[in-house]
Every structure is written in structure tokens, then in C-alpha cells.
Amino acid sequence: MSHVFSYGFRYDDNECETETSVAQAEVEDLVGDIYLNFVETGTLAQGGGAIDDSRHKLLRAKHEQFIHDAINGLPSSFTLLDASQPWFSFWCLNSLEILGCNISQQLRSRVIDKLSRLQCPGGGFCGGSGHLPHLAGSYGAIMALVLVGGNAAYETIDRPGMYSWLMSMKCPDGAFTMHAGGEVDVRGIYCALVIASLLNIMTPELVKGAAEFIARCQTCEGGIGPYPGVEAHGGYTLCGLAALDILGKTDLLRLDRLARWMSARQLAFEGGFNGRTNKLVDGCYSYWMGGAFPILQKALKRTRVDGYIYDRAALQRYILACCQDRRSGGLRDKPGKSPDLYHTMYCLIGLSLSQHYVGVEPKEQIADITSVYSVPVRMMQWGAMPASLLVLGLRSNVVKPVHPVYSVPYTPLASFVKHFYALPPLADQLA
């Protein structure tokens, strides 16, 4: 597999330097130096040459070590994330799972213990000991429990409590507050719907107005922002699009405008994604942007043969060549930044979703798409289609396929869904 690397794809500032173009040039310098290492000797001419992609290697052992070191302890600088405790478990377990590493029974038990201490009596999980329950913390906790798997994990969750707490976070305009007295934005809708769709606590009251709120957050540029009027942003775009897929209402968006904005987020020189127009590349957008393409694909009723509307190889090249920290293990935002658990997980998810073609072929999409009761069937329709596998570099780089909406591998996801949908509906669901 070859790719022509060319300095011609560097950002042309038209000899009008601004803060934006200067920052972009600095990143391109770092990235260019890295890519230059892969240019085949003999092909390097002025301005570029053919890249040899065969040598890219996912440093599995180093990343596994990085994660286990974090599991054993984090330095005091992490005090700033002290209110995001459930996320640590999610970032670690999902990264290990995607890498195909073994997750010991002991580690699973430790996570269950940790998270059960973070569940609030009134329902929902908090970000830390003594905190109010929080939607992002609850999302992180539930996803971590999906990955732990098994009855001990499932039975930890106070399902009726979660439902009543979610309803107490519900706003009249259709969105959700992140916590009592907290901020309202599209993230809240995503967190609430992921949780509710997994726990089998979806009701018309819970979802009411949510789809319309998300649609109001689509900007003129085509992407989705946190709140109506605010700039389109990768994180909120994934949240909004994924939530709409759960609801079966992706049609509320101008999909053509969304496709345009999403594809424009891939940077020509770096190959990775930025999160907003004229901003810098960042490895975490490998999921927030890269992961949105499979969902867009389904919404547009495109097929596997059509292919995703972005350059999968270029994204993998960026992740493998520029985001891995060869010294300490772990993955990062961009060269020059330190690796961290958040970027490790999101780079790996992005790698997975660019290697594997995951989707639902148009002729298989079920007709009843907007009912809350068809959610589990529609969610579990997603699967990887091996015929469109694309692995850059060593074949051993291939990681586990993940569900684009839930960002976790299919096996633990399916077990979780199977358990919770076998439970009787809550009284509220029957009302």
C-alpha cells in the first residue's frame, strides 16, 4: 500500500500569517518530520515521495503497560480529574478490551467495587466520593460495567433509581442537565440515551423533544454544537448523531450539510481530524469525527461497497505514526503532547472504526425506526463486515471492532443488552 507524501499538502497561508496559520505550521513541521521517516529512500524528491506504510506497528505491549501503570496509581496532577473517577475505569478497560488484552477477574472485581461506591442512593453515579450524581460520570460508570460484564456487574446497577434520576435531569426543551444545578448541552442527551437504551429504561417521556433539540444544534456549517447557536464541534457532533441514531431520527438533520462539514474535518497533510474549522489536529477526534462516519453512512443508506466518506488509511497513518508514544506507551493528541488515558482510548476506538467497516446494510434496516421499543433490535443490527477490512501497516495491528454509537466491542455490549432486555420493564415503562 503506498501513499504519496507531499509537502504540497501543507497548509497554504497565502502569505497572510495569522495566529491560526502559525499554529498549524508548527504542527505540520512535527508531523512532516515523522512522515519523512516513512518515505521510501530513492523516491524522495523535492517536496515529497512515496510513503511505505508497511512498517507501521501498533505497540500493544507498551500501551498495555501504560494502562496497567495507571490502574495501579495516578500522580497528583490527576487531582484535576478527581471528579471524573468513573472515566478512569472506562478508559482503562475499553483500551485493554480493544487491544485484546486479558482483563483479570481481580481487576473486574476492583472496578465493580469502585463503581458501586460511586452510585448514589437516589440513582445515578457520581464523579467522586461525596459528589452529586452526574450524567457523564453515570455514562462512564455504565460503560465500564458493560466491559466488566457478568451478573455481579449488572446487579450493581440500581435500574429504577437511574430512571427516576434521569427523569429529574430532564428539561422541558428536550435536553438534560448534566447534574442538579448543572449545564445543559447535547452531551447530556447522548449520555442519557446511551444509559437508557442499554438499561432498558427508554420511555416516550424520557426521550421527548431530545431529537428536536439536537436538530436545533446543527449550525450553518453543517456540524452540531453543544447548544443552539454555538459553533459546530466534533465531540457534540458525535454525541448528537449517535443520540439521533438511538432514536431513529437522523433524518431530522440536513445530512448533506453534515457530510460536508464532517469530511472537511480531515486534514490533508496530517491525515487525522480536527474538531472545528481552522483548528488543529487531535488524536481524540479519531473517534469523535472518525466514529461519526459509520453512523452517517447508515443515515445516508450507503452500502459497504460505497465505503465511508473519508480517508481511512490516512487516519490510521496519523494514529500509528504520530499518536503513539514509543517511550512511555500510551497514545496522545499530537506529537509533542504527553500521552494520557483519554487519548489512549479514543485513538484506539478511532483506529478500530477505521480498520473495520461496521454498519447496517440499507436493505436490512428495519422499518419501525422511531419507536423506543425497537431500540435494542436496531442497536444490535450493527456489525463488522470483514470484506471491507482495511489494516494499515502490520496485519497484527488489527484491533477489536467496536459499535460506533456505544464505542465498545460487540461481545460485552451484546451480553449487557441481553441481560437488561430480559428484565421486566419498569412500572414507568408500562404506564
Binding site: F9, Y11, D12, D13, N14, C16, T18, E19, S21, A70, I71, G73, L74, P75, S76, F78, T79, L81, D82, A83, F88, C92, L107, R110, K114, R117, G127, G128, S129, G130, H131, L132, M178, H179, G181, G182, T219, C220, E221, Y227, G229, V230, E231, H233, A259, R260, W261, A264, Q266, L267, A268, G271, R276, T277, N278, D306, G307, Y308, I309, D311
Partner: protein
Amino acid sequence: MARVVDEESDEGLLLPPMSEQEEWSDVVPIPQDDGRHPVCPIAYTDEYVEMTDYFRAVMAAGEVSHRAFELSGRVIDANAAHYTAWVYRKKLIIDLGLDISEELSWVTEISRRHIKNYQLWHHRGALLVLLLDPKDVEHESQDQRVQDPAIRNELQFVSTVIEKDSKNFHAWSHRQLVVRSYGIWDQEMAFVENQINEDVRNNSAWNQRYFALTANQSADEFVLSEELADREIGYAVDKIKLAPNNESPWSYIIGLLVRHAPAMLHERLLPKINELAADTDYALAVSNTPFYWSALVDIYEERAKALEGKERSDVEAFAIEACDLLAKRYDPVRAKYWEYRKQALQAAS
């Protein structure tokens, strides 16, 4: 020992641990119980452990006091993402009847260290409406409202942050909250234009231009008159001239017209773009930027919808040719996207 800097003397004052302070002797701290073998334990400082242990106790008791208020400040300064402390602090401000302007000053002070933090901005937004109820200034003119110290200070704070971090997402979002809450739309465009002059590639500013232009009305409500469209087209093209390979003005003007007046893409935008492409000063730079060709695809695709027969297929053929040029030469990283656009055009014809 907690090291505290005395504001007047600038000397380091060593305070004893809270457990040794008389003031706190009535409180039994609540430790964080992480279990026997926690995952990802953080190596907290002793100071942080103690202050959060006492804070948990104070919150559990529902204590309303100045010492609780001060403690919330210390906890927030150590961890600005401690969302529960912010909520509790706001409650204390209300219950104790504390001065909101002073609180806003304190938030300004600590924001120097915590600029990308959600909670800080949300706190400001919540306090602002307490300090100045929008209903109280409804009857005033916009000019009068902008002079109100609370509003002026808030806009000043946002400006200061944007000056240091021109695309700070929270800052721009907060500005929208202030403008929207108090209806001070008239002054916003000037701020936007200043920011675009600072950096013509600042997309947050371009997004704000749409916000200011439409006064955040919905797509159905806002009417884009021909006059306004011409003004915006002129403005966008002027900025494109500065740096044709800048995505923001192209994205802005096409987004505006596609949403509010698609027919004007061909009627009003295309002539200006063609003029630019024919101008020897700009021709080379314009024809080399993918945004020019991308604009043509959008304009011609929209145009084709209004035509029939050979006229229509000629226009579509041109758009398809532009897609090919983009996929192969000007924008190959987006080859799959241009293939998708081409498929759509071919299906339409």
C-alpha cells in the same frame, strides 16, 4: 501544613492542618472510602485529602456558614472541576446573602489558572442572572443595557479570555448566553468584526457572525433580504481576498445562503466569485484553493435543480467535473467525499 500566601505581606503563612485548627474542632471529617484495592488511585496531596474530607462533612450536614463558603473556594481552587463544590458554593452565596459582584471577581481571579473549565463558566452564567434579572432591564434600550455594570463587566471578562485564547469554546458560548439573555444584539457585530480582523481564520468569530446577524432566530424565522445577502457576500469575499485558502469565509457564506436563500448562491454569490477568479491579483490563489472548486460544486448543484433538460445536464456536468478535479488534484484526502457528491449529481440527472 498548608502554605497560604498572606495577601498583604506576601510572606508564606503556614497554617496548621484543619484537624489542629480550633475553628474546625466540631466537625468530624468524612474520609473517601475507596475500598481495599481501588483502581487508578490518585496520589493526592495531604492538604487536598484533608480539605475534601472536611468538605464532605460540611456538605453532608447541609452547613450554611462562612467557613463552609471559604472551604468551597479552597476546594475549587485545588480542583476547578469539582462540580459539586460549585453547586454548593452557589447555594451558600444565596443563603448567606453574599455579594455577587464580589463572587464574580473571585471567579475572574481563579480563572487565570482554570481557563478551559466548564463549571466556572456555568457558575458565572447562573450568578449573572441573579445579579441582574433580564426582566429588570427589558424596558431599557440596548445602549443602556450595555452600560449596565454587570453586563459590561461580563463582556469585559469574556473579551479578556478571548484575547488570550481566541477560540476558547466556553468563552464564545458564554458570550452568546449574555447577548441572548439581555438582548444586546446591536453591539455584537462590532465585536465579531474586531475578532475577524485579529485573525481572519478564527472560525468561532465567523460562527458568531451568523449568531449576531440572525439574532439567533430559527431558520424559519430569519429572513435574509437581498440587501443583507449582498452585504454579507461582499464581506465574505473581502475576507477571502486576504487569504483565499481560508475555510471560514467560504463555509460561512455558503452555509448562510444554503440555509436561508439557496437561489442567491447562483444569482448573487457566483458573480462575485467569478469576478474574483478573473482578477489577476487573486486568480492564481483562488484557483489553487479547494474551497473555490467546492463552492462551485455547491452553487451549480443548487442551480441545476431550477433547470431542465440540456441546460440542467450541462450545469450538472460542470459540477461533476469540479468533483473530479477536487478528488484527483485539489483535495485528494476527500476523494471519497467528492465521489459521494458526484454520485448524488449523477443520480439527480
